[in-house]
Amino acid sequence: MPSPFDPEARAFLRQSMVAQVATRSANGRPFVTPLWFVTDGEALFIATGAESWTSRNVSRHPEMALLLSGERSGRTDRVLRLRGTATCHRGMPPWRVLLRIVRKYYLSPRALTVELRSIRKWPLRTLYHGQAKGGPGHLRVVPTMAVFLPRASASQARGR
């Protein structure tokens, strides 16, 4: 089992765009949602609202599990599952983290293409974010365990 931050896991994290973030609600029910993330040292920062379901769940049960797909690796045969402990924070993340988020999700060539294609919807996005109860927030996750899992792929489903 790789350490959460051994070179192979780190490389896979760099190649992943969206994390499927699973948490447990106050009454112990499962919840999962796709969220953006960046790494910072030996932690992951996850963008979410201060009072989103994920943030509220983490406030009660800090343990979480994440799946990462390595979308930019070109490999589709495995995913990385991380377990870790999260803390919930109100407001924007530290500047260095915010810059990483901006670079990853808004300034890459592909991101710029998507952004410019949707330029007329920017005001709606601003309004949408403004509606979020509690305003912006973020999670800081310290991974404690990592394991690569095979993806239940179409080829596997066909028994190849």
Partner: protein
């Protein structure tokens, strides 16, 4: 407060859509995940999802030992990396073992159907005033 922000508060913006709008996503799910609670621990697995009409199911390789029968799960089917590309469907409900999967799938994966108690669908590219 400016009149602009006042107007902003009055407008409700949504990215929610009907699941049927995401037909291509549901037909060929690029990413599918199941979350569940095992004891006191949250867990998550990559799965192969199947969505037909209002029926949702997922398959797991037999190497995963977890039995999902009667267990509450959340199936997440999602796609996209950048803001206006993000879209997905989330289905919550108890899982039921499906004994008779499609022949091509029967041997390799263990299949479950979800009795949907709550279905949410979103498409940030379809953001609009609701």
């Amino acid at each position: 407060m400016s009149s602009g922000s006042h107007r902003g508060e009055a407008r409700r913006v949504t990215r929610d859509v009907e699941p049927s709008v995401l037909g291509d996503l549901l037909e060929r799910p690029p990413r599918a995940t199941v979350a569940y609670v095992d004891g006191d621990e949250i867990d998550v697995l990559p799965v192969r999802a199947r969505a037909r009409a209002d029926a949702y199911g997922f398959g797991v390789p037999p190497t995963f030992a977890t039995d999902f029968e009667n267990r509450e799960v959340v199936l997440l089917i999602d796609d996209g990396a950048y803001w206006f590309e993000l879209r997905g469907v989330s289905v919550r409900g108890p899982a039921r073992r499906v004994e008779h999967a499609e022949p091509a799938e029967a041997d390799a994966l263990t299949w479950y159907a979800i009795e949907p108690r709550r279905v949410l669908a979103w498409d940030y590219g379809a953001i609009r005033e609701g």
